[in-house]
């Protein structure tokens, strides 16, 4: 159980990256599946070759960021639709990641890098049999909290405001002197860097890296974001980011509990993941659940009158757009079948959907 919490907290790094692109930048970034494996493969092969685990973890972060840079360049310089450019990179990363895994010093062409008996950042925990204990949960949680604080700080800076403006209204951002190309590229790099970091840490936690590691990670990230934002709302940035972490943990724990039933085995993992995303999406739209959440949330006042919202329905929101995320999740799960150049048409403002109210 605590092992699931450990993994949930590590996945939170990925979810925070997804939050940055999907919610803040309004960029349907599917690079995640590729950049996650880039992180696991890079870290694992470097550790396999004898590099210090800390440096290898950093390298995993950089590998993810490089994937993000690629997506950003394809989108801003080659003017390719966000969804399509990220799918292209995701596909290309499969080959690149395979080549990374071939970089073992023994020259073997492997699709799986085992880290048995290699030093990792978790070696101390493993030796003291503390993996999956309150100690490991606390230590990882501290690391994640530091990242949450960093993200909140980043978004409160002048550059962070420029990023939020870019996601919310690119035309306005450009007219205000913001280079939207630059803000997009940097945010994609940070986001995918976090995803790569998550991959690097996860490979060391689970003790191996495989080429298929990243498959479906974007869905897990989205599920965490949707779950977390549905529970905690997005009234304040720190609640939104903190909620994403909680969402990621809840998600992992839910998977863990599901797997305890005898008739479900590891082969059903992806199916379980997909089902959980569907449940999270349906629940976050269900009025009864919203009302319950609203009642249980001390930081939210109840909506008494309908808000005089005059935000156009097609305006992307950096926060709390369940509908946008819903559609993205649906498309993400059908990405193979989705045609290029899909245009999003987010529905109503989700503040209403979530039953938020502005505090006055």
């Amino acid at each position: 159980m605590l092992g699931a919490v450990d993994q949930g907290l590590i996945t939170a790094l990925l979810a925070l990256g997804v939050f940055l692109t999907f919610r803040i930048l309004n960029f349907a970034d599917l690079t995640v599946d590729g950049s996650f494996t880039a992180g696991t493969a890079t870290a694992a092969i470097l550790i396999f070759n004898g590099m210090s685990p800390v440096w290898a973890t950093g390298a995993g972060l950089l590998a993810g960021a490089a994937a993000g840079l690629l997506t950003g360049l394809l989108h801003t310089k080659a003017h390719i639709d966000p969804l399509l450019s990220s799918i292209l990179v995701m596909l290309a990363m499969y080959s690149i990641n395979t080549h990374i895994m071939w970089l073992g010093k023994d020259g073997q062409q492997r699709t799986n890098v085992p880290l048995l008996n290699k030093p990792t950042i978790f070696t101390w925990l493993v030796e003291h049999r503390l993996r999956g204990s309150w100690t490991s949960v606390t230590l990882i949680a501290i690391g994640v909290i530091v990242v949450v604080i960093l993200i909140n700080w980043f978004l409160s800076t002048k550059f962070g405001l420029a990023v939020m403006a870019t996601g919310d209204n690119p035309g306005m951002a450009s007219a205000m002197g913001i280079s939207t190309d630059f803000t997009k590229i940097v945010t994609l790099m940070i986001s995918n860097g976090l995803v790569g970091l998550c991959g690097a840490i996860m490979a060391q936690y689970s003790g191996s890296s495989a080429i298929g590691d990243g498959t479906g990670m974007i869905l897990i990230g989205l599920a965490s974001v949707i779950l977390g934002n549905a529970i905690f709302g997005t009234r304040f940035l720190w609640l939104a980011t903190g909620g994403v972490v909680v969402g990621a943990v809840l998600y992992r724990v839910a998977v863990f509990l599901a797997l305890r039933w005898d008739f479900i085995n590891n082969a059903d993992m992806k199916l379980m993941s997909a089902l959980l995303v569907v449940i999270a999406l349906v629940l976050s739209q269900w009025k009864g659940a919203q009302a319950l959440v609203t009642r249980l949330s001390p930081w939210r006042t109840k909506a008494t009158t309908p808000e005089p919202m005059s935000v156009e329905p097609n305006q992307f929101s950096p926060f709390a757009q369940v509908d946008t995320a819903t559609q993205m999740a649906v498309v993400a799960s059908e990405q193979e079948a989705s045609p290029p150049g899909v245009t999003w048409s987010p529905g109503t403002d989700s503040d209403k959907v979530l039953g938020h109210s502005e505090e006055t």
């Binding site: 405001l161 209204n169 002197g177 935000v311 950096p318």
Partner: protein, 262 residues
């Protein structure tokens, strides 16, 4: 301050949809000029503003602002000199950011986006004073999302955001067109007030001939991508809406004659 020389722009060239939006337009604005532009739909008014702001490139001609040729400069680079208020109230603000965040973005116009804090106590106080001048009660709602404001309030805010970094040139693109008459009057009053108090050089596109005559010191009449006539300050003072209409019909007639002869 602003000099346009032989600016031409054709949309969809070489296709059946080809449309000459601007045909060799020349325009010269002196420091402190407040020029209003009127013209029918498709006259090229908005294209002219887009070309000046840099959101549309030109085919021919040059755009010089404050002695510097910006013809090939990207929109976000020009933003340090040019501010703009759009027709659509939601175009000039970020709806999901709060009022103070929007103002912080606007205050940083033309400066580099560093990792320094975006909102400080001192800035909030400054925003509060500035918002109070709009007389919309926005100074008490600074943490509210801009999406919650009415169209008129958003245009007033856009105007404030456009003006308070003292731009070299203020572009107003039919910024009262989407508002009800009462709100339009309010925003117009705020516009006149801002421009005169800050001695801004401004270019205002409008459909409303009355507005065009009331504000500004010069008036530009456009038709089918050409500038038909520029009213001098003396002409403008005495001109009435009927005079403008007469001008238009006379010039249009002359134009069609010319087209026939060509």
């Amino acid at each position: 301050m602003l000099t346009l020389t032989h600016v031409s722009k054709t949309f969809y060239p070489g296709t059946p949809n080809e449309r000459q939006a601007l045909r060799s337009v020349d325009l010269d604005l002196a420091d402190g000029d407040f020029v209003t532009i009127i013209g029918s739909n498709g006259a090229g008014k908005s294209t002219l503003l887009n070309v000046i702001a840099g959101s549309i490139g030109v085919d021919e001609g040059s755009v010089v602002i404050g002695g510097r040729n910006v013809t090939r400069q990207k929109e976000y680079r020009r933003a340090s000199r040019i501010s703009r208020v759009f027709q659509d109230p939601s175009a000039g603000t970020a709806p999901h950011l709060s009022i103070e965040q929007n103002l912080a973005v606007a205050l940083n116009r033309g400066k580099s986006h560093t990792l320094a804090r975006g909102l400080t106590h001192a800035r909030r106080e400054e925003f509060r004073t500035q918002l109070a001048t709009l007389e919309q009660g926005l100074e008490d709602r600074m943490r509210h999302r801009v999406g919650l404001l009415s169209g008129g309030q958003r245009q007033a805010l856009s105007l404030l955001m456009a003006a308070f970094t003292q731009p070299k040139l203020l572009l107003l693109d039919e910024h009262t067109a989407a508002l009800d008459p009462e709100r339009a009057e309010l925003v117009l009053r705020l516009t006149a007030q801002r421009v005169s108090e800050q001695h801004l050089t401004a270019l205002m596109v409008t459909h409303n001939m009355d507005h065009a005559l009331r504000l500004g010191n010069r008036l530009v009449m456009m038709h089918e991508g050409r500038i038909l006539h520029i009213l001098t300050p003396e002409e403008k003072k005495s001109a009435k809406v009927s005079d403008l209409l007469e001008w238009f019909s006379r010039e249009k007639g002359a134009l069609s004659d010319r087209t026939l002869l060509e």
